[in-house]
C-alpha cells in the first residue's frame, strides 16, 4: 500500500483524530459518504468569511468573486471525468437529483408508451425509482439485466434485453454493494447499436477510479461530491456535448431564464438552464478543493491503494469463520465496497457490535433491495475503504468482527465488567 502516503493523508482529516465509544474512529462507511479533509473545510470557511454573495447577477465585487469561483469548479469537474467542455457540467444536489433530471428533462420528451428502459438488478434505488416514475407517467416498460452469482453483471442477459424499443440503458459503473465495476464501454456500444442512450451512475466510480467519459462512451454521467471528499449538497450531471441543448428545462425559476413574459419564457444557455434558483454556491466551491485534493494524489494512485487494501480485506474476511463475501474477489474488476454476511448474526447486530469498537460499517439493504432479493439476503454488512484507510483500520475491523462472532457463538462469554 505504498501508492499513497496514508499517514500524511490521515493527518488532513480532523474527524479521524476523534474517539468514538472510547475507541479510535475507524471509518469504513465511505460508500455512504466520505470524510472531508481540512482543505475542504477551510474552503468553506474561507468562502463564508471573505466571498459569500449570490452569483451570476451581481455587479459588486463579492458577487463577481463568488461567480468566478463557482464557475471555475465546472472546469475542475470536467477535468476529473475527462470531459472536453465545462458547459456540459450541471450542478445538482446529488446523484439522485442528476438522474431524476434526466428522467424528467430528457425522459419525458423521449420515452413513450411501450418504450423500454434497461436497468440491472444491481442498481441503487436512485437509478431505479426515477425510471419507475417515468415509466408510470409514460407507459414505458422497465427491464432488468441479471447479476451473476459471482457478483458480476450478466452481460448476456443485458444484451438480450437491449433492442429496438430500448430508449435508454442506465447502469451503475461501480456497485455500492458488490464493488463490481461494470464494462460500461461495452454496454454503451450495445445500446448505441440499437439507438438507445446510456446513463452511467458514477456515484461510486467518480471517487475511486480514473475516469474518461469519452472512453466510457456514455451519454450521461452522474455522481455526488459528498462521496469524494466534497461537502454534502452537491451532485453533478455531465451530458455528451450538444445533448443538454436538446433537453427541456427541469426546474423553473431564477437564473435559468433569458426572457420572462407573462405567457411564457425563454431559457438561459446551458448549463445555467438546468440550475434554477440560487445554487449551493459555497459547497460547489468547496467541492473544487476536494477535486484539487484528489488531483494532487492522482486517481491512479487512489485506485492502486484501494486495490491493495481491498485485496487484503477480502483475504482477511474470508479467513473469519462463517463469513461470506458478496461480489467478485478479483480486485482488477472491483472497487473497495466489500459486502459480507456472517452466519447466524444479523447485519444490524454486527454493525452495533463493531461500532462499540469504534468501527463504522454499514448494515442494511444499501438502497439496493432488488439486489438483496437476488442475493437472497435481507441485508448485508458492508465495509468500504478510501484514501485514509490503512492496514491498522482493517485489523481493527477484523478484531471487532471476531468479537461479534464470539458474542453470538460462545456460551462461555467473558463475565460482565
Amino acid at each position: 500500500m505504498a501508492h499513497l502516503d496514508v499517514a500524511r493523508i490521515q493527518h488532513d482529516f480532523p474527524i479521524l483524530k476523534q474517539e468514538v465509544n472510547g475507541r479510535r474512529l475507524v471509518y469504513l462507511d465511505n460508500a455512504a459518504t466520505t470524510q472531508k479533509p481540512r482543505q475542504v473545510i477551510d474552503a468553506l470557511v474561507q468562502y463564508y468569511e471573505t466571498t459569500n454573495a449570490n452569483i451570476h447577477r451581481g455587479i459588486h465585487t463579492l458577487a463577481v468573486r463568488a461567480t468566478d469561483q463557482y464557475e471555475a469548479v465546472r472546469g475542475k469537474v470536467a477535468a476529473h471525468i475527462g470531459a472536453a467542455n465545462s458547459a456540459d457540467v450541471v450542478f445538482t444536489r446529488n446523484t439522485t437529483e442528476s438522474i431524476n433530471l434526466v428522467a424528467r428533462a430528457w425522459g419525458d420528451a423521449n420515452v413513450g408508451e411501450g418504450d423500454e428502459i434497461v436497468l440491472s438488478l444491481m442498481e441503487h434505488h436512485s437509478n431505479i425509482v426515477p425510471w419507475q416514475l417515468l415509466a408510470r407517467r409514460k407507459g414505458a416498460v422497465l427491464r432488468y439485466a441479471d447479476v451473476r452469482d459471482d457478483g458480476t453483471l450478466d452481460l448476456d442477459s443485458l444484451r438480450a434485453l437491449v433492442g429496438r424499443r430500448t430508449r435508454l440503458v442506465s447502469v451503475v459503473h461501480m456497485s455500492n454493494v458488490l464493488g463490481t465495476i461494470n464494462p460500461v464501454a461495452e454496454i454503451a456500444a450495445m445500446a448505441h447499436a440499437q439507438g438507445a442512450l446510456v446513463l452511467v451512475d458514477g456515484a461510486q466510480s467518480a471517487p475511486h477510479v480514473p475516469l474518461d467519459v469519452d472512453t466510457l462512451g456514455c451519454d450521461f454521467f452522474a455522481f455526488s461530491a459528498h462521496k469524494m471528499l466534497g461537502p454534502t449538497g452537491v451532485g453533478v450531471l455531465w451530458a455528451k456535448p450538444g445533448l443538454l441543448e436538446t433537453m427541456d428545462p427541469f426546474l423553473g425559476g431564477g437564473e435559468m431564464i433569458s426572457v420572462v413574459k407573462p405567457e411564457g419564457s425563454t431559457w438561459a444557455q446551458v448549463p445555467h438552464k438546468f440550475e434554477a434558483g440560487t445554487p449551493n454556491i459555497a459547497d460547489v466551491i468547496a467541492f473544487g478543493a476536494a477535486l484539487d485534493y484528489l488531483r494532487h494524489l492522482g486517481m491512479e494512485a487512489v485506485r492502486e491503494h484501494e486495490k491493495a487494501i481491498t485485496a487484503a480485506a477480502i483475504e482477511a474476511l474470508t479467513r473469519l469463520p462463517g463469513v461470506t463475501i458478496h461480489g467478485p474477489r478479483n480486485v482488477g474488476i472491483r472497487g473497495g465496497a466489500v459486502s459480507f454476511s456472517v452466519d447466524g448474526i444479523h447485519p444490524h447486530d454486527v454493525s452495533t457490535i463493531v461500532d462499540s469498537y469504534g468501527v463504522a460499517i454499514r448494515a442494511g439493504h444499501h438502497c439496493a433491495q432488488l439486489l438483496m432479493r437476488r442475493l437472497g439476503v435481507p441485508a448485508t454488512n458492508r465495509a468500504s475503504f478510501y484514501i485514509y484507510n490503512d492496514e491498522r483500520d482493517l485489523q481493527t475491523l477484523i478484531e471487532a468482527l471476531r468479537q461479534a462472532i464470539k458474542v453470538f457463538t460462545h456460551d462461555s462469554a467473558r463475565t460482565a465488567v
Partner: protein, 147 residues
C-alpha cells in the same frame, strides 16, 4: 488494548445468551383468536404474533419471525412476560416498555425481566427493532378490544 471495554457487549451477551439461543414460545398456535404481522420495512425485521385471548385473558401466545437479535429477543421476552396474563396487564406492560424504550423512563417493577431491554434505549437506531413485536401486540389488543 487499554481502551474501555465496549459497553454493548454486555447488553448483547445478556440478551443473546438467553432468548436468542432459546427463544420462548416460538411457533404458531393451533387455534389463535388473533394472528397479527408486523414488518419493519427499513431493516426487514418480521414478526408474526399468535394470541389466544379468552375472557380478557391471554391464555396462550406464540411468535415466529426473522430479523436481528433485538427484534427476535424482544418478541420472545414479550411472550414469556404476557402468557397467562390479563389483557389489562398486557396493556400496562406495553406502555411501560414503550416509555422505557422511547422516553428512557426507568423500568418499573411490572416489567420484570423486560428491564434487560433497557440497554436498547441507548441505541436509538435499534429501538424500532425492539418495539416491533410490541407494536404488533398493540394491534392485537386493539382488535381484541374491538371484537
Amino acid at each position: 488494548m487499554t481502551a474501555p471495554e465496549p459497553q454493548f457487549d454486555d447488553f448483547y451477551r445478556e440478551l443473546i445468551l438467553d432468548h436468542f439461543r432459546r427463544p420462548r414460545n416460538r411457533g404458531e398456535l393451533a387455534d389463535p383468536t388473533h394472528r397479527l404481522e408486523g414488518v419493519n420495512p427499513v431493516c426487514g425485521d418480521e414478526i408474526q404474533l399468535d394470541l389466544l385471548i379468552k375472557a380478557g385473558q391471554i391464555d396462550d401466545i406464540a411468535f415466529t419471525g426473522s430479523g436481528c437479535s433485538i427484534s427476535q429477543c424482544s418478541a420472545s421476552m414479550l411472550t414469556e412476560r404476557l402468557k397467562g396474563r390479563s389483557v389489562a396487564e398486557a396493556a400496562k406492560v406495553l406502555s411501560g416498555v414503550r416509555a422505557m424504550l422511547i422516553e428512557g423512563t426507568p423500568p418499573g417493577p411490572d416489567l420484570g425481566d423486560l428491564e434487560s431491554l433497557e440497554g436498547v434505549a441507548r441505541l436509538p437506531v435499534r429501538v424500532k427493532c425492539a418495539l416491533l413485536s410490541w407494536n404488533v401486540l398493540q394491534d392485537g389488543l386493539n382488535s381484541a378490544a374491538g371484537a
